[in-house]
Amino acid sequence: MAYFDAASTEPLHPQAREALIEALDAGWADPARLYGPARRARMLLEQARAEVAEVIGARPDEVSFTASGTQAVHLGVLGALLGRRRAGRRLVVSAVEHSAVLHAAALHERDGGTVETVGVNRAGAVDPAAFGAAAGAEGTALACLQSANHEVGTLQPVAEAAAACAEAGVPLLVDAAQTVGRAPVPADWSVLAASAHKWGGPAGVGVLAVRKGVRWRSPLPEDDRERRRVPGFENVPAIIAAAVALRAVAADAARESARLSALVDRIRSEVPRTVPDVEVIGDPVARAPHIVTFSCLYVDGEALLTELDRAGFAVSSGSSCTASTLRPSHVLEAMGVLTHGNLRVSLPRGASAADVDRFLAALPDMVKRIREDAGMQP
């Protein structure tokens, strides 16, 4: 099986697997207690925190571990809104944020707050001036912008957005789930969210970082864990493994990202050459290194996923027929691009050029067959 769905989850890094097994024995005790095994668990937890903090450009005391990336986003958004309630109840988000951000925004709206959604261009990026103007409007408590889009890979102008937010005195939450461990983390975030299983750590570990001085209050019942930011007993072994994975992938990120990016370039140029009526989506240059998305006219996305699975390729799709909601991806809709026949190929670290070539060789016939079955003659 050629696994090309890293944007959903990256396979566990071998060093993380080793660290996890060791940590199950070394880090099982309650890090809040004062006896030997507890002190050891706490030491390992704090070491992991320091390592993650270094990679994301934070101080260790700014970093909390959550139960998932989604929980990090929910707590980041709702906690920053609560902390800034006196400034106003206006939340600004881009139209292509992850559903974790948009669902938190919907909750805020149901709770009487307001949400302004900033649209994107055909490539999927916000206009920094429009985003800055929205963030600068009276009563804005928080603005949210992802580092890179999870479906099309397009990078967002985070630095410009952050400058505009700083000028307006509005905190910026950056959802960096797709880029931590693959690309440098934008420096000027106020709140940062990330997810360990996207960088090769185990599932069940998210990262919530809140810059010192940024007002934040937990939207959940009080709890002492993780500097009172995240309720519940920490999953110390998984956190240790996540930190080990991050250190390993960050050390190799520049080289591996360049290699994957070249493979993505090959897919971006080859697919339109060998498959007629294809729209390759997202910014060709300002993009995450590992994600490429395209839509094939007249093709049922679900049929294409099934054929690819049968041929040994694991990919995903933003087409409505593949979603439980039967709605097309909000990202593709916001971009105004073709939503049916959509495929997202996202390369995990170590993805081989041979597998990519095999995919490129198999795709044209599959698309042709599905179109013929649907009555579309070439």
Partner: protein, 89 residues
């Protein structure tokens, strides 16, 4: 709700052909449009009736890719849209 690409060009012109794709999932409404657009003269309007939400995004996108013109998308009282496309060539 009307789509962003809507322009006045061709607006008000009655459709020369109506394709009923109500209840059909994408890509079927687009396939029906692609198969039938050449049945109308150049500059004439085809109206696609569709209620799959994907059609609302995808028919304007198809027009852009195929260099036809998306005139407007009119909401239908019974749900869905009448999506008007002008044959350009």
């Amino acid at each position: 709700m009307t789509a962003g690409q809507t322009t006045a060009e061709g607006a008000g012109q009655p459709p020369a052909l109506t394709i009923d794709a109500l209840g059909k999932k994408c890509p079927i409404p687009i396939i029906m449009l692609a198969q039938q657009i050449n049945d109308v003269p150049r500059e004439a309007i085809v109206s696609v009736l569709a209620d799959d939400p994907a059609a609302f995004t995808d028919i304007p996108a198809w027009c852009r890719l195929k260099s036809h013109h998306h005139v407007a998308s009119h909401e239908l009282p019974s749900g869905g849209w009448a999506i008007h496309v002008r044959r350009n060539y």
